[in-house]
Amino acid sequence: MSYNIAVCIKPVPDPDFYDKITIDPRTKRITRSGIPAVINPADKNAVEAALEIKEKYGGKVTVITMAPPNAEENMREVLAMGADAAYILSDREFGGADTLATSYTLAQGLKKIGPFDIIITGTESADGATTQVPAQLAQWLEIPHLWGVKKIEFINETELKVRAKIEGGSIEYFIKLPALLAVSREINRPRYTTIMGIKGAKKKPLTIYGVKDIDIDLNNIGLKGSPTQAGAVNVPSIDRKCKKLRGEPDEIADLLIRELTAAGIPLE
């Protein structure tokens, strides 16, 4: 049995540049200019999980993203890791999407390219971090899903035993395919991109689909299809608070402990 596996990817601003990221108070969006995009770290774990299944049981790994066309660089990197084909859903009409519109767009893209036996995502993106897209995507596709997956085992060709993390532990589930799994960072360590992989990625297919290329209801995409919109943006002040403590060393130590405790900082 071989598996047709899809992995959903999101390019996010490079965490090394977080100190340079600002939010535009007018559009309420992250200002991305001048900040390189990298593959969302958790999505690399998703790619690794897919590649491991493919290597063990055979099949094909397809990666998909909804992003501007310059996500090609990120998609080539995933192809270099070992994925077989990549799709970018890119159109101005997709812009301004919240998680619902994003998951709808991805679902329609997956329906066009698929069908898939397994769809793998990361648990959350490093920028938005809503954790909503995997569950919404599974709903649009009308397939079961699990979130926070840290172990995947095949019971038989169409059923998996999956361990998903919960607060303070984990639960074992049995899930029938086709299914969506949102994998946690601890499931694996993503492989390095090799030089041979980079060479091979050049020849792998990368397709860009716009609104016209997929069967899509325009009311469900972009700003129009997004029931949630960002409200007021408040930037908290992160100036250092400075208070001078005076006295003998022992007194200062006591004062310091009292001040820190009063400020709610746990000292144990």
Partner: protein, 383 residues
Amino acid sequence: MQFFQFTREQEMLRKAVREFAEAEIAPKAAEWDEKDYCPIELFPKMGEMGITGVFVPEEYGGAGLGHVERAICLEEISKYSAGLGIALMTHHLGLSSILYFGTEEQKKKYLPELAAGTKIAGLAVTEPGGGSDLMGIKSKAEEKDGKWVINGRKCFITNSHIADYNVLVVSIGKDQKGHNLMAAFIIKKGTPGYTPGRKENKFGLRGSVTGDINCVNVTVGSEAMLGGSGDGIKIAMKSIGEVGRAGMAAIGVGILRGCLEEAVKFANERIIYGKPLSKIQSIQFNIAETRLEYESARLLLYHAASMKDENLPCTTEFGMAKWYATEAAVNASKRTMDLMGGYGVINEYPVGRFLRDAQAAIPSGGTTDIQKIIIGRDTINKN
């Protein structure tokens, strides 16, 4: 004149090697230096990445790329560990002599394992009498009963104790004019009579092994000879001139990049008189000087490497890149130490190691004076 720009694949390769170096090399580089430990266990991992065989054609198990890509790999690795950089660059040096001068049989026999990093290569030319005086080589190979019997001592040989295959350049007699005739032989570790000897305790480039190789009646068949009788000088000159010095230049560029990143990081984080050091003009001057040296060294290196990939003669260009990059690396690491004040001499920071590594890179592959001779003669001959 084309705009100088790496291809998209080369940029991807740099990013991939950088991620590998950040995870596998950066956390351990200081320890390798302190313990003078050469991490040979990383060679198979670098093989999986495609680094050990980056310019070896795919038919011999390599990545099938060129010397620009090799320089990128060495720059990214040497930014964290110039010691591992020279071990890797010498591995490339040894295998390049087989790639460029070997028979089809020799290439098929040796290159797949060397490209995979499961075996390590070296090239042994220098002797106690000198490194650049090739005609003065005293180690000898004599033909006896259809075999070659090698005797002699090589010194200052990088990878001396770790190389599985070492290419030795030795004298095989005199030509009609009385000049030394040289030949190169591929010697396998463990061949009777072949023993690594004294191991040097170096000031810099620690984490690479440098030492003697002793040959006492080392007997090999003619299939071990690389190229023909008398090709030894050509093999040594071409390999050192176009692969060895290229590697040392890339190591220098890597150290320069390391200096630049350490300087910027420190200048932004260190608060003095209520503001970051980077706000002070004299500190900006310091960083600007290092930036200029880094960019200049980089242009010289990648220009020469792209000439090599076009099969153009490039010994002079690599000579210039090697001279400039290694001397600039010494200047920049000293300058960065100065920028850091007291912190510069604390071994918790890598800049002290950068200075030692940069200084040690100057005599490796020919001193600056040797590069001046090569460049001077070439310039005079061409004008």
